[in-house]
């Protein structure tokens, strides 16, 4: 009887360090990470020293490393972006582009947004 109880106690205690570690990991991810809406494709934004915290704007344009575009959740191309912007274009657009994307493509997209009537664009970066 005594023997059985001691073994049961030892089994319970061996789990406690595991729980401790898992709990610490949980707290780390809760504090260090920020909850974010998923991006349509893996995205690694370029680095900058900007202090302007990114926030959700009226519209959002994603640009992948190989030039794929996604506007407000729908796949678009350079040609169909103007149609996707619609007759009443948003005033502010957040452009989240991969750091490895071609810079000229972003330049053309920004020019396209300007022609469609967008007033301000915000390029997403991560703090270096």
């Amino acid at each position: 009887m005594k023997l059985t109880r001691r073994r049961r106690l030892a089994e319970t205690e061996s789990v406690v360090p595991l729980i401790n570690i898992v709990f610490l990991l949980l707290i780390f991810f809760m504090v260090a990470g920020e909850l974010a809406a998923p991006t349509p494709f893996p995205l690694d934004p370029p680095k900058s020293s900007s202090d302007l915290a990114s926030e959700k704007r009226e519209a959002e344009l994603f640009v992948s490393e190989d030039g794929k575009l996604s506007f407000n959740g729908a796949d678009v191309t350079e040609e169909t972006l103007a149609d996707a912007l619609g007759a009443i274009p948003p005033e502010q657009v957040r452009v989240a582009a991969d750091g490895k994307a071609e810079a000229r493509l972003i330049g053309r997209l920004l020019a396209g947004l300007r022609e469609a009537g967008v007033k301000r664009a915000f390029l997403v970066t991560v703090k270096n």
Partner: protein, 138 residues
């Protein structure tokens, strides 16, 4: 309830070693951990404000000087046609008047991170900068 069952239920509270089972707690913590690992982004996003307003006039009508930084495909960069390295460019941008305007014109094949680097330098120097892709130039 049978006598045996009620005795089994009553036994833990009578015991001096009564403890709540940890297993459901671990399950919940583990699920929370996995949720936060998948749903959170460790690198916070920061925005660079790109002035693209068309109603503020075309660059030709802007009062300040207009400067052009060309990013070359071989890694070099030119400020108004003069070859510079990154440190020299940062120093030159810092010495420009604050009402100057900068146009960043990358060559074909230049990645966005290089252009952002120059936009970032301009931001530090307090100069408005825009990113263009002029066809037929550079």
């Amino acid at each position: 309830m049978s006598l045996a069952a009620s005795r089994r239920l009553a036994r833990p509270s009578n015991s001096s070693h009564a403890r709540i089972s940890l297993t459901p707690l671990i399950d919940v913590i583990f699920i929370l951990l996995i949720f936060f690992m998948l749903a959170s982004r460790l690198s916070a996003w920061h925005d660079i404000d790109i002035a693209i307003a068309s109603d503020s006039g075309t660059p030709q009508q802007v009062t300040g000087d207009l400067h052009r930084v060309s990013l070359l495909g071989d890694g070099g960069m030119l400020l108004d046609g003069e070859a510079l390295n990154a440190d020299m460019l940062a120093a030159r941008l810092a010495s420009l008047p604050k009402d100057a305007r900068l146009i960043v014109d990358p060559a074909a094949g230049v990645r966005l991170e290089r252009a952002i680097g120059v936009l970032d330098m301009a931001g530090k120097a307090g100069i408005a900068a825009s990113l263009v892709a002029d066809e037929g130039k550079s």
